[in-house]
Subunit: 355 residues, 2 copies
């Protein structure tokens, strides 16, 4: 069997650590090291940094170019940022050295949406170097776009799409907690939204444009709103305590219009411990068309776990893709990998000689 | 813009007719004619045969080779049969003349499962001719395999999969009604199962092997059963009347084992008018793993409508595929097509120059 697929992880925060731990459990791929933006982690052993109780003998590099030169990865998973602009220079370094890239930066799910010029540069550079790039994650990347689009495959026509994701923020750390405005007062929440500190969920425009591209709609207008979810009870996580009257999370909505009609409706209330006020978590997709039907996931597909899995499960799909920048729509779907990754790469599924 | 994509439909039964009608509604593709196995339809105008109240000026051919020579299709949709063996000679004619093929024959969803040698021949011939072949449909092809597999993409690990499809047979015609044993007595149902006349649903082995291939399981054993659903009320469709005590449908189950453990459980009761005895239709998928979650579609995705849509929606995906035999897992997912099909073919989604 061919050599192990060497993977470098960018980011040693909660997501980078989860991805690194998952790679260690998989056959056929090898974790070769990590790159961390936070300089104080450089030189630390990766095992300790990702919450294992043992050393891995793998370094965390503070310089990406050195990381690539010393670990010689086939592929890198980027878990350092949310925005294309913020991750672009890392992508340049990776691509210039011929490394394939899977990014969980939310905007990378459809980079042409926020950053058409950078998306074009990424595409050109990837083609030039003969490698591929794709963005994935639970949302954007799956629940509110890829899964929706997959379900439309059974439709002769689609009139409108309504999708709701009700989830629990309590497993998340300080970055997410603060970007969602958890623990703020009504007034500081409003100020935070106005100042861009309370951003809520990144990715509605990406999901909307991805659906529209897939179906052939051209959205004329996208309306977004962010409202505070006020708690009437005390809610406490390891990172934050929300008193009654304070903000437990951010209720974000989006509506996209096509031909003067609302065609996509997203409803995404995120808060810590929604069950404390009787709110059930879950994902719901309702398609109105021919046929009309609705799909409910209970409980909600957990975001952090699922994003790590999607990133790792995308490896064989990316390695088989032609050079260039892709979206998850351009590739066959990622699937759980319970066998050696190289087996999944070796053979196409359909023909008989490997049945 | 490039020329219209010319499509020939094989089969003028319920499914062939639904596919032909859907093609007529789509932009960028052109219905060029049909082939029918039933010789009495040859020469009839296609418009009448598919239930339109007008002529289309298109012929139904009784000879497939002539149909291809006279209509010069880019692509054909095969809706004439359920089994690879039964459809193989039609595939040969199409491929030898360089026609791409989408088949809704159930076994064609994973032809290597029932017919590894024929699958290999199809693959070789398609590669030789530079065209592609794929099988699709609601089941097998979507609910109990592609959708399941897509959902596993969020999983770090999968322990087991349970999927249930509860649907209504009342919209179906005589072929389906009789193959499901509707209207039989307990004894004639049992005799029909033994004699192979009551086959129930085709496709459990295909769906199971598709899931296993995708995930990396090797099934050791597949157990299947077919039980009669006895009606306690009178149920009447345009084609059949079921008296109390008679069979309203077929309850089919399958269990697949891997490493001595049941890893896939399928439960598929099909009957006419299940609501008459308080049975709610729907599709349910339950994944046990990391994470565990369940997904419910209500009502069930209607089989006939969805299969026609999947067949037509697969057109741009097939035309972009490399030559050879594919499964739906090897291709990006089919999506509803609300714009000109040629638009969907023209551009990749990700890069910025068409954002």
């Amino acid at each position: 069997m061919s050599d192990l697929i060497r993977v470098l992880v960018l980011g040693t925060g909660q997501m980078g650590a989860a991805i690194a731990r998952l790679i260690l459990q998989k056959n056929g791929i090898k974790l070769v090291g990590a790159y961390g933006r936070r300089s104080h982690r450089a030189g630390m052993d990766l095992g300790q940094a990702i919450g294992l109780e043992r050393d891995l003998g793998l370094a965390i590099f503070g310089n990406l170019k050195s990381a690539v030169e010393q670990t010689r990865p086939h592929l890198a998973i980027q878990a350092t940022c949310s925005r294309v602009e913020d991750g672009f220079s890392e992508l340049q370094v990776l691509l210039q050295q011929g490394v394939e890239v899977i990014s969980i930066a939310e905007e990378m799910v459809f980079p042409a949406c926020s950053s058409p010029e950078l998306a074009n540069e990424i595409d050109q550079l990837a083609r030039l170097q003969g490698v591929s790039v794709v963005g994935t994650g639970i949302n954007p990347g799956f629940v509110l776009d890829l899964l929706v689009i997959t379900l439309t495959g059974v439709c002769a026509h689609v009139d409108s799409i309504t999708a709701e994701r009700v989830n629990d923020l309590s497993p998340y750390g300080p970055t997410v907690i603060s970007s969602q405005g958890v623990g703020l007062t009504l007034q500081t929440f409003a100020e935070g939204v106005a100042a861009g500190r309370v951003v809520g969920h990144y990715g509605f425009p990406e999901s909307i444009h991805l659906i529209c591209k897939a179906l052939g709609w051209e959205p004329e207008k996208i309306e977004q709103s962010r409202e505070p979810i006020i708690s009437s009870v005390r809610r406490e996580t390891p990172f934050i305590t929300v008193e009654p009257g304070q903000v437990a999370g951010c209720h974000q909505r989006a509506v996209a219009y096509y031909q003067g009609r609302p065609v996509i409706n997203f409803d995404h209330p995120q808060q810590v411990f929604p069950e404390l006020e009787g709110v059930e978590t879950g994902d719901t997709i309702e398609i109105r068309g021919i046929p009309s039907f609705s799909v409910r996931c209970r409980p909600e597909i957990p975001g952090g776990q699922a994003t790590a899995a999607l990133a790792v499960n995308t490896i064989p799909r990316l390695l088989k893709a032609p050079p260039g920048l892709h979206t998850v729509l351009d590739l066959p779907v990622a699937t759980a990998m319970l066998a050696d990754v190289r087996e999944l790469l070796r053979v196409p599924l359909a023909s008989g000689d490997h049945g």
